[in-house]
């Protein structure tokens, strides 16, 4: 009699101790919250995307013509069009959002590309300005990042970003510690080598993918 009772209790406990049964509330909540969050994302996602595009358009003159020229109202008269670009490299299709900027008279001012890649904490989203022939970097701007405050997030500072201005896109850029000496070197943010490497990697990959097609597009426009 006693033994039987023990058995049923154990069976009951066995069911109750099952991980899934124990965690049912967590699972149900995760589902409910998941649905709530995807609704929020569906509603607000487009608004956030528009904000980013507006910010990009605002930054285009500064990225192409330098910070001082960017302040000049006349230079802000750049015509900006978004060109979706697909690059096929070793069988993999990659799409880029390229902003084409033209002066009022129709000559090409340069290109700004929005790209993202994995940083140390989360994805880093950045804008890369290139001159019309895509041979030179004209500017860099960090749109979105969640790097470590005080260390990795220094990648947004002008002082660090300015290193990229006027770098040639011939070869790839390299990150060095303790002061860049060569032309293709970028000084890393101290204490944030991974964040620095991520930014440089993103830029190198983008340049490698887009240099050719952009140069071709620029030549076509000239003809």
């Amino acid at each position: 009699m006693v033994e039987q009772g023990d058995n049923t209790t154990r069976k009951k406990n066995g069911f109750r101790n099952n991980y899934i049964v124990q965690a049912w509330l967590g699972i149900v909540l995760a589902l409910v919250f998941g649905i709530a969050l995807s609704t929020v994302q569906a509603v607000l996602g487009p608004v956030i995307a528009t904000n980013k595009i507006n910010e990009t358009k605002e930054k285009v003159p500064e990225l192409l013509l330098g910070r001082d020229a960017g302040q000049d109202t006349e230079d802000r008269q750049l015509q900006i069009t978004i060109l979706p670009m697909t690059v096929a490299k070793s069988g993999i299709q990659k799409s880029y959002n390229v902003f084409e900027a033209k002066y009022a008279d129709g000559t090409l001012a340069g290109w700004v590309t929005k790209v993202d890649g994995q940083g140390y904490a989360d994805r880093i989203e950045l804008l890369l300005g290139l001159n019309p022939s895509a041979e030179e970097i004209t500017g860099l701007y960090i749109l979105d990042q969640k790097e470590t405050p005080g260390l990795g997030n220094k990648i947004v500072e002008e002082r660090w970003r300015d290193q990229f201005t006027l770098k040639k896109t011939q070869g790839s850029l390299r990150v060095v510690k303790g002061g860049a000496k060569e032309k293709d070197e970028i000084d890393s943010v101290s204490g944030a080598t991974i964040s620095s490497n991520s930014v440089v990697d993103i830029i190198n990959k983008t340049v490698a993918d887009l240099k050719q097609p952009l140069a071709v597009a620029a030549r076509k426009q000239k003809d």
Binding site: Q22, L25, N153
Partner: protein
């Protein structure tokens, strides 16, 4: 079990007697990081209020279902959801502010103030008490944020809510808007608060 405080007691306690920053010394990371301007401090306080009220309400509603050894998981899940909503709303409607606050909005998830209120109050008391506790604590937190931000912004930039209040001759103490200023101001204000309460 000892008698639990009533809703009104919870509300009042959060503002001054048990102020999260000056009395409990919790949730200090944003206190030091984003108090260099009033606008950032107020936005942060509103975001914390939203998260705290929602998390406390939800936890209080499901408190009979909580299992002691799994409660922290549920708390974190709930808090993370509301923080993400707050983060997305800021990015959509206050884009520049969301860039200024950067990672500190997502970091509300690990703000111990919120998990502390879920543990101390919401998981034990009914919804009304939990919400008034959340509002009281949020007011206390907001006041603390504002008190530090006020000193730092005025001394550091000569401005208050972005408007010039100090005479033009005032040399802006830029150390005040830098991280050391956060520690210095917080330390001095905390000392003053302790001095006042000891005198009474």
């Amino acid at each position: 079990m000892a008698e639990q405080p009533t809703a009104l007691e919870r509300f009042v306690q959060g503002i001054l007697p048990e102020n999260p920053v000056y009395r409990q010394l919790i949730g200090l990371c944003p206190i030091l990081a984003i108090t260099n301007s009033m606008q950032a401090a107020v936005t942060m306080a509103v975001a914390v209020t939203f998260v705290l009220v929602c998390a406390n309400a939800v936890i209080s509603l499901i408190r009979p279902l909580l299992k002691p050894h799994l409660r922290i998981v549920i708390f974190t899940l709930t808090i993370a959801t509301f923080v993400t909503i707050a983060d997305r709303v800021l990015a959509a409607y206050l884009y520049q502010m969301s860039k200024t606050l950067g990672p500190y909005i997502p970091l509300i998830i690990v703000n111990c103030l919120i998990i502390c209120r879920c543990e101390v109050c919401a998981s034990k008391q009914p919804v009304f008490t939990a919400v008034s506790d959340a509002v009281g604590q949020s007011i206390g937190y907001g006041l603390a944020l504002a008190s530090i931000a006020c000193v730092r912004e005025v001394l550091g930039t000569g401005m208050f809510f972005g408007m010039r209040v100090m005479p033009a001759a005032w040399p802006d103490w830029s150390v005040m808007v830098l991280p050391p200023g956060g520690f210095i101001v917080f330390g001095l204000l905390l000392g003053t608060a302790n001095w006042i309460s000891n005198r009474r």
